[in-house]
Symmetry: C2
Subunit: 330 residues, 2 copies
Amino acid sequence: MKLATYKDGSRDGQLIVVSRDLSQAHYANGIATRMQQVLDDWGFVSPQLDELYTLLNHGKLRHAFNFEPKQCIAPLPRAYQWANGSAFINHVELALQARGAEVPESFYVDPLMYQGGSDDFLGPCEPARFVSEAMGIDFEAEVAVITGDVAMGASPEQALEGVRLLVLANDWSLRNLIPAELAKGFGFFQSNPATAFSPVAVTPDELGEAWAKGRVDLSLQSMWNGRKVGQCEAGPEMTFHFGRLIAHIAKTRQVRAGSIVGSGPVSNKDWKNGYSCITEKRAIETIQDGAPKTEFMKFGDSIRIEMKGRDGLSVFGAIDQDVVSLHEEQ
Amino acid sequence: MKLATYKDGSRDGQLIVVSRDLSQAHYANGIATRMQQVLDDWGFVSPQLDELYTLLNHGKLRHAFNFEPKQCIAPLPRAYQWANGSAFINHVELALQARGAEVPESFYVDPLMYQGGSDDFLGPCEPARFVSEAMGIDFEAEVAVITGDVAMGASPEQALEGVRLLVLANDWSLRNLIPAELAKGFGFFQSNPATAFSPVAVTPDELGEAWAKGRVDLSLQSMWNGRKVGQCEAGPEMTFHFGRLIAHIAKTRQVRAGSIVGSGPVSNKDWKNGYSCITEKRAIETIQDGAPKTEFMKFGDSIRIEMKGRDGLSVFGAIDQDVVSLHEEQ
């Protein structure tokens, strides 16, 4: 099943069901109006949406309309939790290696994770607004899951059962704010502005065999200003699967329905696959040549993030954003 | 105006209006059913609630009932943001001094703040459940505000205009998990389990002249196992006022309605005022005697946090929680 949220002027938007090929859509009213409602009462609501989805795919709905990703806000336009892991340890290895630091042993058994802001997400085609280019504007292409309720103390296997939906995320980062912020010891804050999400959220069964062992075994493409800079495999090198990441949250608290849990930037050992964030390219340049060469993003730049299924079709639709000055007219 | 949320079996509970003296209450249906609705549309909804509040205070509502704090869940049982500052720099000074470290100059001009989990808050009288006493269970008594929308780039003065409601918070912390977690560099995560809030949220005008310069000029009492351990002044020594804290969030992103922003533990230079978290008492013991003596909380312990107005009446009602093993029958 594929779900999305259309703009309607309200804070939570309007829930729609989207056809498998992303061509058609249908309002879900009569069943649920907002995405969070579905997650709050998944067992009751999702089978009804699934029926609508089947009819839509068979072209049997009179009031279906053409699906326009530009009319989407984030599937969950605001959420009660956005916890982002750094589950591709290769990304961490590169970052530390570029600084001449060792990767602590514990990083291979205990996931890195931070709590992100979740009150104001960006839609897939909304401009990303920043105060200044000097902050070091970087994209981060990743995969994320949206959960149901998961009890405190859940095992990774139990936690994995809590996965309800998958999305792509662009976790915008302000790299030049990070060193001072981390030095304060309280983690990322101002360096993590609003995150953007793919137009469509999909149930795991939509991935078929590509959803395996808590990972998405497909490649994630990043196009920066129209040039392909990354085609990274999101499956085999994900050190900690999504069940591990959710269980990390659940170690000391309940995880409640509608929590979004991210993989961190998808990253591969083979540099030929490119990168899912500029900071990784800069780490590679530093390791190779002693200094980074690629600059961070400028106002006017664009970034497009997309994942295709084994049938060659876009699974989630594309995140396709422009970088814009906060002071430019809206 | 005083508002609270009653248990009704749903995730968001039922909005009620509570009388100034906390003796009576009335359902707000017909106006709004959930606290977040009020914050989403403050300008339209709050005047209607205020009328109801006036009638309630004058004993003019036929369907008023006795207010029972034990029937409350958190005013916002789940929120889109919980950003917690450490605005009382004395707390930071003590913590660092006990470790033999200096306070960086920047800490006096740039607030410390972390993003907390906000998907699962505790009600004022709900037991706080933990996996193990060995995690170093500590309370943190603080003041927090709930905001409306605040634009990216807002000044501290503009941000202060975004304060809609005030609450007390008990930001539970697992002290023995903190060193390893901070060493990872991503900030607090498992060391910050679910936070509890006071029964009642109040508009700033309820504080009269005690709401001044973005601070609450009243004292916050902490009773641990029935013994008063803290009576700390929440006003004059708050280094960064709430407008400063909100503006810190707004530096690189929009702050959206229903964001909760905390002061961090209320802390005074005069040690006779006691403490608002055990870790501060242990820091003082370390500075005085070279080692901490007071142990963290045990299963069966209780903590009561309350603030009285200049009229001697409880402003927010009390947070009154027992510490319970996760494995004890619910």
